[in-house]
Symmetry: C2
Subunit: 341 residues, 2 copies
DNA sequence: CGTTAGCACTCAATAGCATCGAGTGCTAAT
DNA sequence: ATTAGCACTCGATGCTATTGAGTGCTAACG
């Protein structure tokens, strides 16, 4: 358990380091407002804090830098949440209000707002689609052997695949199929669509249409879209302005991670509901072991739909970011509610 | 006009510099196979070539580096196109053959192949959609006041917008509208869709439906998609391995350009048909003044549809890249032909 | 007369060295 | 318990010398 004074010193070091990105010495802490101790005293405490694992020294005769454990303590016990300034709030809501009638737009906008307001990189996971249900199904023939299958969900999302038409099926039959599928499948959650396709619709379809197995196969494949989430990044180059990324090597490993959508998605979606902070080595991926990832979930009727998150250096403005994510995730919960009616 | 010997020397310098990325001295040229002259002779020629503007010197007592003009001469007169190796060809076609039934997939794959095979950054512009025609139109109501408008083109591309429904229109009327639009507009090129919407369909629609102006407005807006081209980048981080981008500042300006899709698109689409090479300062944008951009068009029935391109440092393997783009653009022409029937 | 050997010269890069100063740990005095 | 004092550490900074790859010029050569 840390003493009151140790907490105060740790707090001061983290705050200063977040601002300056340079190791903090005892003298600068001592000269700070509200600290009534000499550098020597601070030094002793700092030595203790280092032994306890909260601080690190790049080398002897350098100042101290917070360790992952130090940041963790800071976030858990010392941090006072920054108010989101009136100005930021206005800017944010102004952006979001802009008559958005596409859900995708809202999500993408949210990512942009986050990265603009923080100067870090933002990651936004769009609503999981498996919980959506089918609103409309359509087969549009393009020529003799191909057609476009279109799925519209209750939230207005449109998914489409090109499927090949088995020989011997003509347009009138296609229309029949479309009608059957619509009457049988509208309202079914996407996650159950494939199984329903076989169990309920299969027989009936077979009654009307020859060669229906091939078509079923094509539809089945079309439905097996593995992108139940869509992910949006924004401000990826913001990282490059951070002093911890003055080395091109580090930049490359990070940007390579950004290109690997599935990995990144796994990393983000492993976070639980609510606001979650992963600091430095707490993150499962090596490329962001000197970064912190903060996420918040937005939801509908208490059920989490997707996530918004900020990735920045461990030396991140936690207070500001956390309160911003909190506000925005709540706004999005409200805003997206209308699509989920 | 350059002498035979000058051409030989220029060729040698460009080739060597492309490999080594370091200024080339007279001695190393002299010692090269097939060159029967002493360093002193080479030096004299190099001085001449510099005076003529084909070479540059980073500083006195350094070797020579090709200038933009030097590269230009190299590309126009000296370059012998590399054969695309059997292995690369197989790899490429293997990738493209992979039962792709989505046009988007083909395009995206092409970008990936290019960046993988070259280790530069690839830029691919999808087929311009304005020349496509409407295949099917659909209005799917989501709830009381919003609906999804879906457009399918003859090439199987699906575009969708959420539109708000004016009060007082019910579902049966929506279906009527859909039917009218389909009978009147199928086959019309997308570029003329908006004008036709007013000129031909407007009155007829008005006869059946009240409050139709608002709906028209909504549809009109939905059709005004400004992304007639879709653009795909791949291998953006490949640039970071190039020695000319060891400086984070330069990396940032380049990556920022990559994020500015419209600017980049303008840059690329300003290139004419066929294979086009823009070297260094020949490019209109400052961020790529030390890069070369090579593009090729793919087409259908002689009409250019879209572009594939490679962006790399001016010190680029022109021969390899050009022949690769040539082969791939022709393959894509063949492959995409089937969608344009 | 074109070519080349020879030579003085230039200049970035590298290494060595002294200096500086911010910061530390320890000890003894308060 | 706190702090002043002090020796010590070590990266950063700046200066100088050295090195070496490369040049331009001139004079000699076949």
């Amino acid at each position: 358990m840390l003493t009151e004074r140790q907490r105060m010193i740790l707090n001061a070091i983290v705050d200063d380091y977040i601002r300056s990105a340079e190791p903090i010495g005892s003298r600068s802490i001592s000269k700070r407002g509200g600290v009534g101790f000499s550098p020597a005293t601070i030094r002793n405490e700092m030595a203790d804090l280092e032994e306890l694992g909260y601080l690190e020294q790049p080398h002897t005769s350098a100042g101290r830098v917070p360790s992952t454990k130090g940041y963790r303590y800071y976030v858990d016990h010392l941090l006072k949440l920054g108010e989101v300034s009136e100005q930021e709030l206005n800017r944010m809501r102004g952006f979001l209000a802009d008559q958005m009638n596409q859900m995708e737009q809202v999500i993408q906008h949210a990512a942009m707002i986050l990265s603009n307001l923080t100067n870090y990189t933002s990651i936004v996971l769009g609503p999981e689609m498996f919980s959506n249900s089918l609103k409309h199904f359509q087969l549009v023939p393009l020529n003799q052997d191909t057609a476009v299958a279109i799925i519209v969900t209750n939230t207005g999302h449109v998914e489409n695949r090109t499927v090949s038409i088995p020989v011997g099926i003509d347009i009138s039959e296609m229309e029949k199929i479309t009608r059957i599928l619509n009457t049988k499948l509208v309202g079914v959650p996407l996650s159950r669509l494939r199984s329903r396709l076989y169990s309920e619709v299969g027989e009936e379809l077979g009654r009307y249409v020859e060669h229906c197995e091939q078509l079923m196969g094509a539809l089945d494949e079309a439905l097996a879209s593995d992108n139940e989430h869509r992910m949006f990044l924004s401000g990826t180059t913001n990282m490059l302005t951070q002093p911890e990324f003055k080395d091109v090597e580090k930049v490359k490993t990070l940007l390579d991670l950004f290109d690997e959508t599935p990995t990144l998605m796994k990393l983000v979606s492993s976070h639980p509901d609510g606001i979650q902070v992963r600091i430095g080595t707490e993150n499962d991926h090596e490329a962001i072991n000197n970064c912190s990832l903060i996420t918040a979930t937005y939801s509908f009727e208490g059920k989490s739909l997707g996530m918004i998150g900020i990735l920045g250096p461990t030396r991140m403005e936690y207070g500001k970011v956390i309160s911003l994510l909190d506000v925005l995730s709540k706004d999005m919960t409200v805003l997206l509610g209308k699509w989920y009616k």
